[in-house]
């Protein structure tokens, strides 16, 4: 066990898999000699060589496409897209090729590509360094989508993703790379040192794809969320003085419906929260699923607390972000519904 922040945990997952499986290669912009702009692969090229940890040209589409080719040839590429905001040039290769390769070839061809990418705001990155585009990936048939919320899960889920023969799009909220963030921008930053999920085994372990986690048990209402907002929700529930059950979805697709259904059927009230824009965001699917599965148990409309339906504005970052106060208000309101 070591204290790790999320960057170290992700680096450790790479390290273990590069060591364990000679077919694993890391590939992306600035990830080789330099170790990545967020340092997630720092030192790994030096350790495993230039043929295992490879600097790529600035062409997200080309990176995904060649990674598919590597995958077809028996390698297991772990791709970094420098910011989720820059994944779109690779979108066609993900939608039209990576996600449908196994299906269209009746299982003969597949490419076990993992695409890691930092997402989310709260770092004054403005509209092109803050996006959370998970909702357009979860709509695809044939890729799994993950968003992590802490170092322990990040390492365990990343190892699972790399080992999976299905393609995985793996979102890493950059705001919590160095420490959890409780959604109060006025408080000083904290580190992972004081968080139980900052305790990370040094060795190989996995967290399974497709399983949500109940991070707080509670009776009054259920908050279903993922990524940075997991921490915001925990703080907001405390602030609102409500005994909330909080679910970290972790794998967004395929969704662990059972965990969510059981919880909402128990509490009768549900809030869905994420940082991405609201309209047709991932939260819509959560709401649709819950209303279907838990209809007869719901005591109030399911509420959604999300980023607004605008680009992520630089100056209004904390007005855009679903901050602790906004969630706390929402929790109180949801509890007031008679």
């Amino acid at each position: 066990m070591s204290q790790m922040n999320m960057i170290q945990a992700i680096r450790s997952a790479h390290d273990i898999m590069l060591e364990k499986d000679p077919s694993v290669v890391a590939f992306g912009q600035d990830i080789g000699y330099f170790g990545g702009v967020f340092r997630c692969t720092d030192g790994l090229q030096q350790k495993y060589g230039e043929h295992r940890v490879i600097d790529a040209p600035i062409a997200e589409g080309g990176i995904v496409a060649t990674a598919i080719g590597l995958g077809i040839n028996g390698l297991r590429p772990v791709v970094e897209i420098q910011f989720a905001d820059y994944i779109y040039p690779g979108f066609d290769q993900i939608v039209s090729e990576l996600s449908r390769l196994r299906y269209r070839s009746a299982g003969d061809f597949f490419a076990p590509v993992t695409i890691r990418t930092p997402c989310g705001g709260g770092i004054r990155g403005g509209q092109t360094h803050s996006q959370s585009p998970e909702g357009i990936f979860t709509h695809l048939s044939g890729v799994k989508t993950v968003m992590v919320s802490n170092p322990y899960d990040a390492k365990g889920l990343l190892i699972s993703a790399i080992e999976s023969n299905d393609p995985v799009v793996f979102f890493e909220p950059k705001r919590i790379y160095n420490g959890p963030f409780d959604g109060d921008p006025d408080k000083p930053a904290v580190s992972w040192a004081s968080h139980p999920k900052g305790e990370v085994p040094d060795d190989y372990y996995t967290v399974p794809l497709g399983k949500a986690e109940v991070v707080e048990e509670g009776e009054d209402l259920t908050i279903i969320t993922y990524g940075t907002i997991v921490h915001v929700a925990q703080a907001a529930a405390k602030r609102a003085g409500v005994d909330a059950e909080i679910i970290d979805v972790r794998t967004l697709m395929p969704l662990d419906v059972d965990t969510i259904r059981d919880s909402v059927n128990k509490t009768g009230r549900a809030m869905v929260a994420h940082e991405a824009t609201r309209f047709c965001g991932y939260g819509a699917e959560l709401v649709a699923t819950i209303q279907k599965e838990c209809f007869w148990h719901l005591e109030a409309p399911i509420s959604r607390i999300t980023g607004w339906d605008t680009p992520y504005p630089h100056a209004f970052e904390w007005q855009y972000f679903p901050v602790q106060k906004r969630l706390a208000d929402g929790i109180r309101k949801l509890m007031e519904v008679a």
């Binding site: 290669v25 040209p57 589409g61 077809i72 290769q93 061809f109 023969n165």
Partner: protein, 414 residues
């Protein structure tokens, strides 16, 4: 807008009702183009991207330094494969017209591309074909029945009903699955080749796309990554003069050859008579040797003509002269190889006619067998459960539920 517009709009040399005009094609004499060593410096061989490598002259005699070392049996086999491709195409085109399959695309007039190039690779080289490369599947022993069953989406369909007709695959023989999205497989082939180099293997990769498809991003990605990593890959542009209704000028062909596209990245380009099987083979072999010996990528432009419609959904008489193919100066690849062999004394009109009859019978028999495995409208059908498989390696719960729901609606589950 009162000022006169001055945007340049590319114009084909002839539209329906006009005389075909191929004066824009820059032709070389057979045998006239020098053959550099396969390890020649890219910069020193730029002329290959502008001239046209040709081996067979107008009298069907093989000429010059590119004349390949192919024995008579191989050439006869190549001829057979070209004719087989054409007979197969013809049959499938007709069954589409009869409504037995939903769609078809011929390679009419372009048969030398797949057969000539296919001969140049080793069996472990990985090929990423485009949709007009059925010849590659045929020559790598995919089996006519299997190919037909794919087009029929029947119970023996290699794609389990998931793809439109003509989107074949042949994993065993290292032929990738064809994509409906243009150009996407080009950079994938480069990635595969990079993988071979990472693993220290000697295998190389190759991919194909059309003149029109060079405008897509994936063409650029392929060239860029191939250049940066010096990947062992052979990249092929089939310039059949037309995309769907737009001639090759709309893809930039008015100004430079497609073979020249990679020069600015240090990738050698070779422009070859795509209807001359000997030249096609020779040029490809050159690129294969170059790639295998560490010389990196080559871009080959195969100058040919799309003899038929774009697909069974298309009507080319709306946008090009009816007799354009007949006027195409590089002729018909089948006829040219046949005449060459006859000239050499290794072939005759009679043997050719005999072979054609035989191949028609073979194809006919294959079709009979293929439909015995079902058609879109006649059983045996594929099990509908297959529609939910292979989305992921293991079926997730939500797909099991959706499958079961469908089965219940169909009365196949209580």
């Amino acid at each position: 807008m009162t000022k006169k517009p001055k945007l340049h709009i590319p114009q084909p040399t002839a539209r329906p009702g006009e005389e075909p005009d191929f004066s824009y094609l820059n032709l070389s004499e057979a045998g006239a183009v020098e053959r550099p060593a396969t390890d020649a410096r890219a910069k020193s061989i730029e002329f290959l991207a502008e001239s046209l490598v040709r081996v067979l002259d107008d009298d069907h005699v093989a000429q010059g330094p590119w004349k390949p070392d192919l024995d008579e049996d191989t050439l006869i086999e190549a001829l057979r494969l070209m004719v087989l491709t054409r007979v197969y195409d013809d049959r499938m085109q007709r069954v589409q017209r009869q409504g037995k399959i939903s769609f078809y695309m011929q390679a009419l007039g372009e048969e030398a591309v797949s057969i000539g190039q296919g001969l140049a690779f080793g069996p472990e080289d990985m090929l990423f074909p485009a949709y007009r490369n059925q010849g590659l599947y045929i020559m790598r022993n995919t089996g006519l029945v299997d190919m037909m069953c794919q087009c029929l989406s029947n119970s023996r369909d290699m794609c389990k009903g998931r793809q439109m007709p003509i989107f074949y695959q042949n994993k065993e023989n290292n032929l990738f699955t064809i994509s409906g999205n243009l150009a996407t497989q080009f950079p994938q082939a480069v990635g595969w080749a990079m993988g071979a180099a990472i693993k220290g293997d000697d295998h190389i990769a190759a991919s194909w796309l059309g003149d029109g498809s060079t405008a897509e991003a994936d063409f650029h990605y392929a060239l860029t990554f191939a250049s940066v990593y010096h990947a062992p890959v052979v990249l092929n542009v089939i310039n059949n003069q037309w995309a769907i209704s737009t001639f090759q000028g709309v893809a930039g062909g008015e100004r430079r050859s497609f073979a020249a596209r990679g020069l600015g990245l240090g990738i050698p380009g070779i422009r070859v008579d795509g209807n001359d099987l000997l030249a096609v083979y020779a040029v490809t072999r050159w690129a294969v040797e170059r790639a295998r010996s560490g010389g990196g990528p080559t871009l080959i432009e195969l100058v040919t003509y799309r003899g038929g419609a774009h697909s069974t959904s298309d009507d080319p008489t709306r946008y090009r002269p009816r007799n354009e193919w007949a006027a195409f100066p590089l002729g018909d690849p089948v006829e040219r190889l046949k005449q060459h062999l006859i000239k050499n004394g290794s072939w005759s009109e009679d043997r050719h006619a005999e072979m054609e009859t035989e191949l028609k019978t073979t194809v006919e028999a294959a079709w009979k067998e293929a439909v015995s495995y079902g058609t879109m409208t006649e059983p045996p059908f594929l099990d509908v459960r297959l529609a939910f498989e292979d989305v992921f390696e293991e079926m997730p719960e939500h797909l099991e539920k959706q499958r079961d729901k469908l089965l219940r609606i169909r009365g196949e589950l209580p």
